[in-house]
């Protein structure tokens, strides 16, 4: 594996290897030493969580980090092409972790440079490290990825995270409940892909009826910036609010996930229940990114 650009490039076997390595690194990070290695975080748009999680992953394995965050005041503002910026960053570092608002930007950069490239989000297209940490989290929470019942809740139309999670889980015989307002439902081309792959799913508008049916509840934020029409946003923004009371009949093993940041989709009284798992999910991001960095930097036999 030279780069990590898209979940589509990963075989089920490769995914399993990364999940196993993340688990092993969580137990014993000292097995990998990335000292004197430099990671360039090249972020064309702001991101707190993804970038800091990568930095934490790199530093906890002994590596160093250099960063460009946002384009203001950089060579990009002077009109430098993406290829040129990337080629220079490649001379400064051993691996590039990149976020860019245009779709396909990371793939393009990976063709331009010799160092490994990790896609940390390219517009609405892919965010494979998020998908992988979600898989790791679900496996850790339930002990398996096989045959789980999952509710994906919120903005299923624009939510890149839920799209790629649906694809990532498809080989593991899942049963999905897609819970969203009609205006934000799962795109038809994804539903037909899932049907073709033999994945069972049900679309619902109300969450109450399925709370006691599922092992995983994956909640996403309804993003204001997705709505050109303010009125439309006001109508749906409070459609699904997960409270401790809503979860009173939930299965014992239910875990609630959220890529964070949350606004009001999950009330804080859920935090102290056994169902809350979103902060563990954030922590898991560090282990998964360690596994990715170690693999791409050639520190793991593959």
């Amino acid at each position: 594996m030279k780069n990590l650009i898209s979940m589509r490039d990963l075989s089920a076997n490769k995914i399993r290897q990364l999940l196993d390595l993340a688990e092993s690194l969580e137990k014993d990070p000292s097995q990998i030493d990335l000292s004197r290695r430099v990671m360039a975080a090249v972020f064309y748009e702001a991101s707190t969580r993804t970038r800091m999680s990568f930095e934490s992953a790199m530093k906890r394995l002994g590596g160093e980090v250099i960063a460009m965050v946002g384009t203001s005041g950089t060579s990009v503002e002077k009109g430098e092409t993406l290829a040129d910026t990337a080629k220079v960053m490649a001379r400064y570092s051993d691996i590039i972790v990149m976020r860019h608002p245009m779709e396909g930007a990371a793939r393009y950069v990976s063709e331009q440079v010799d160092v490994p490239v990790v896609n940390a989000g390219d517009g609405a297209n892919q965010h494979p490290t998020q998908s992988l940490l979600d898989l790791y989290t679900i496996k850790k929470a339930q002990g398996t990825l096989e045959g789980l019942k999952l509710a994906l809740v919120g903005d299923l139309k624009y939510g890149r995270t839920v799209h790629s999670l649906a694809y990532a889980l498809a080989p593991f015989n899942p049963e999905f409940y897609f819970i969203s307002p009609r205006s934000l439902c799962m795109p038809i081309h994804i539903l037909s892909d899932l049907t073709r792959m033999g994945v069972k799913f049900t679309e619902k508008k109300k969450i109450e009826k399925i709370v006691d049916h599922v092992d995983i509840m994956y909640v996403t934020r309804i993003q204001r910036e997705r709505f050109p029409d303010r009125e439309e946003y006001e109508k749906v923004k409070n459609a699904y609010i997960i409270t401790a009371d809503l979860l009173k009949n939930a299965r014992d093993n239910l875990k609630v996930l959220h890529p964070l940041p949350r606004v009001n989709e999950i009330t804080t009284d859920v935090d102290s229940t056994k169902y809350a798992y979103y902060f563990d999910q954030a922590e898991n991001g560090v282990y998964m990114r360690q596994a990715i960095l170690a693999t791409l930097l050639g520190e793991v036999k593959s």
Partner: protein, 151 residues
């Protein structure tokens, strides 16, 4: 039968005939094939056709196009049939085929695709020959060829 129709325009001694081009697309086909300045080219437009009702035809004197060259027109003339002529006789016939990889021929319709922002070539992979549907190598979206503008 085809031979009779072909004879409507002057027959060529040696060269290539491209038949069954959808009516109105002959100029776009030529723009892709880029004949050399010295090539003798005949264009036929709006010929009647049993299969297509109306069709366009191109004849290029003195130049034999190969399958690879002709495949580049597959997106706008998917049913085109190619005949190679030697000494007034058809010596070889083939159909255009959409190539597995299409480079630098069509634009990605996704305005958020990196190919529309950087000085770079587009690259598509054929995902369904029936459409034909093409997947952008970069933004990964799938589009039907008739939604796409040619470069």
């Amino acid at each position: 039968m085809n031979d009779v129709k072909v004879m409507k325009v002057d027959a060529i001694r040696n060269g290539t005939v491209i038949d069954h081009i959808p009516a109105g697309r002959v100029q776009r086909v030529l723009a892709i094939l880029k004949p050399r300045k010295t090539d003798v080219v005949m264009m036929g437009m709006n010929f009647s056709s049993k299969a297509m009702q109306k069709k366009d035809i191109i004849k290029i004197e003195g130049r034999e196009l190969n399958q690879h060259e002709v495949n580049s027109i597959a997106l706008i003339a998917p049913d085109a049939k190619v005949s190679i002529i030697r000494d007034f006789n058809v010596t070889q016939k083939f159909k255009v085929e959409v190539p597995e990889v299409i480079e630098g021929l069509v634009k990605c319709p996704n305005p958020k695709c990196i190919t529309n922002a950087e000085p770079m070539e587009t690259r598509f992979r054929l995902v369904d020959a029936a459409g034909p549907d093409l997947a952008c190598q970069y933004c990964e979206r799938v589009y039907s060829a008739d939604e796409m503008d040619h470069i």
